[in-house]
Amino acid sequence: MEAFLNWNFFVELLLSTVRMATPILFVALAETYSERAGLVNIGLDGIMSFGALIGFLIGFRTGNPITGIAAGALSGIAINMIYAFCTIKLCAPQIVYGMALNIFAPALASFIYRLSFSDTSTLIQGVSMKAVPIPVLSKIPIVGPVFFNHIPLVYFAYLLVPVTAVFLNRTKAGLNFKAVGEFPKAAETLGINVTLQKYIASIICGALAGIGGAYLTICYTSTYSEGIVAGRGFIALSAVIFGRWMPTGVLLACLLFGFCDALQIRLQLLSPSTPYQMLQMIPYLCTLFVLAFFGIKKSGPKANGQPYYREER
């Protein structure tokens, strides 16, 4: 028990909280954009696993983590375009298409992985990103190492939160964007191109979810294995609900889930006698409990999840 009171334990715990929350934050923000335009995308897990593979592969081939991340984003967009086309143009049920992505994208990813590395069972070590401490700020005790000594992608994720908040609440474009998710018909009469806005939302969603996936293989493990995403897409989905579709709320929710993940890993190291499966359950159980206590029936964009038939009156 003494280790719990150890100062280092706390710093380490907070540090990995920030680190573990990052992929969830990327994906949760992706979903925030998507749902604000009325598209419920439950295919995040699928997009992430595809982004994770392509990011890893391109990073490995080029040796440059930034190219890998960019490739992850592009592949996320590409795979999400299937969802976008079918749900926006064909008005297909969004949940079903989200599921289709969850089944299709991991299959495609493992196919490409096996083609590229021809069924080798050895783990292939990919590229990884170096931490860039922010001058001055990283020297502050406790706060410095926890918040200001990370890889650039982590700063990017946290920077996206205020950017998204300002965009959605303070800019005309953002308000137009939100109108599409609230009442598309009214938005259309005001001259907003609903279809275009929805496609934009899907592009942003795909890119961010792809980056979230690539983060896992480039910044977190630097290897690829099947099932690496481990339901983070769904945890992000609950973070959006828990965070009330607001960027700051989503950030807090992601930090909470990141904390559970970090705690789980720390506890595994700390008490090897506890069955590790029980500790690994913590993030999932925590998601359930948090939702059960804070989940409220009616909130979020009004037209969320509904198809928009433009020709219909």
Binding site: I82, L90, F104, D119, G231, S238, P275, Y309
Partner: protein, 358 residues
């Protein structure tokens, strides 16, 4: 109009499967192999002898259960994505029962299957209860419970019921194995249970008043509510039934095929079931057929890999493409502009509420 609907429900899955096969063939061609020869290997692997057909059925068996799980809940308008967790929990409950109780023979099997179904039902009821009482999204809850169940199974086979140094549980006693139909056709009787459930599910959904009400709740919960249907009770009911089917599936898989729990038991069956149910347009009998087609692909995939060095993942892609085309095809026909082409009747707004979730 009704005739037309039924026809498209059969045609869309067939066309989707054919198109997915063609694209799969193109992928195989891109790998530098002959697609026709490849499909020859695939089908001979699945149908080459009665023994192979039986093995294909063994693969199809759990998929029928999880497919029915998905179909029953979606018919009621709720998305039980927790088939995998319920499947695993059913198997865990059964293995505890048969290894600890000391009962043997047929009574043990029957009781064990019942216990498996009951545990699956309880596990499946959790998302239902949380949805009704707290308004939680049932998809997220059921997915989270999948991970919890899989991790708990890990705890069972590495610690609680571990058999020696290998991370797996004890095998079930020999007398509690489900018998095979015949030596030359080695498929266990579990397939009988699966097929019975498929027909029973079809009868229940389409030929009983409870089934009708359940579908009505799925199509329009608000209208059903104002018609005096106990909507929440039907939602919970569909979760419990679908959970019980999955739990029973896990138990059957344990007693008929796997005989013990180990890493990877039931992995992916939940999502496969979802895909199968969607391709089958949520029809229970169709679910059994599509599950069999999936099993053919899987059984054939290993022959394909050994015979022609085509990675088995090609088959995963074909499966995933089938679902994408099947759903796109259905959606396409629902578009107002397409409806006008296909029927002279006036286009009415329908189903916009159906997929609303949050």
């Amino acid at each position: 109009m009704k005739q037309n609907d039924n026809l498209t429900k059969v045609i869309i899955p067939i066309i989707s499967i054919l198109v997915a096969f063609v694209i799969g063939g193109i992928i195989i061609l891109c790998l530098g192999k002959n697609p026709i020869k490849a499909y020859g290997y695939l089908f001979s692997g699945a149908f080459g002898s009665s023994r192979k057909v039986a093995q294909t059925l063994v693969i199809a068996n759990p998929l029928i259960f999880t497919g029915l799980t998905a179909a029953i809940s979606y018919k009621c308008g709720v998305f039980n994505l927790g088939g995998e967790g319920q499947f695993i929990i059913g198997a865990i409950a059964s293995i505890f029962f048969v290894t600890k109780s000391g009962m043997e023979g047929i009574p043990a099997i029957l009781l064990s299957l019942l216990i498996g179904a009951a545990s699956g039902a309880i596990w499946g009821a959790i998302p239902g209860i949380l949805k009704i009482t707290r308004g939680l999204n049932e998809m997220i809850v059921s997915i989270m419970l999948n991970y919890v169940a899989a991790l708990f199974m890990g705890y069972v086979y590495t610690t609680l019921l571990r058999d020696g140094s290998v991370p797996q549980t004890y095998a079930i006693p020999d007398s509690t194995k489900i018998a095979v139909i015949s030596k030359n056709f080695p498929i266990h009787w579990g397939i009988g249970i699966a097929l019975f459930l498929a027909f029973a599910g079809y009868y229940f959904l389409f030929h009983t008043s409870k089934g009708f009400k359940l579908r009505a709740v799925g199509l329009n919960a608000t209208a059903s509510f104002f018609n005096g249907f106990p909507v929440n009770r039907y939602i919970l009911f569909s979760f419990i039934i679908s959970g019980a089917v999955a739990g029973l599936g896990g138990s059957v898989e344990l007693h008929g095929k796997q005989l013990r729990l180990m890493d990877g038991f039931g992995q992916g069956y939940g999502f496969d079931g979802v895909a199968i149910a969607l391709i089958a347009q949520l029809n229970p009998i169709g679910t059994a057929i599509v599950a069999f087609i999936f099993a053919v692909l899987r059984k054939g995939a290993s022959t394909l890999q050994t015979g022609m060095q085509v990675p088995t993942a090609v088959v995963d892609i074909i499966q995933a493409l089938v679902i994408i085309f099947a759903v796109a095809g259905t959606a396409l026909l629902k578009l107002p502009s397409m409806k006008q082409i296909f029927s002279k009747q006036s286009v009415k707004k329908e189903g916009t509420n159906k997929w609303k979730l949050f």
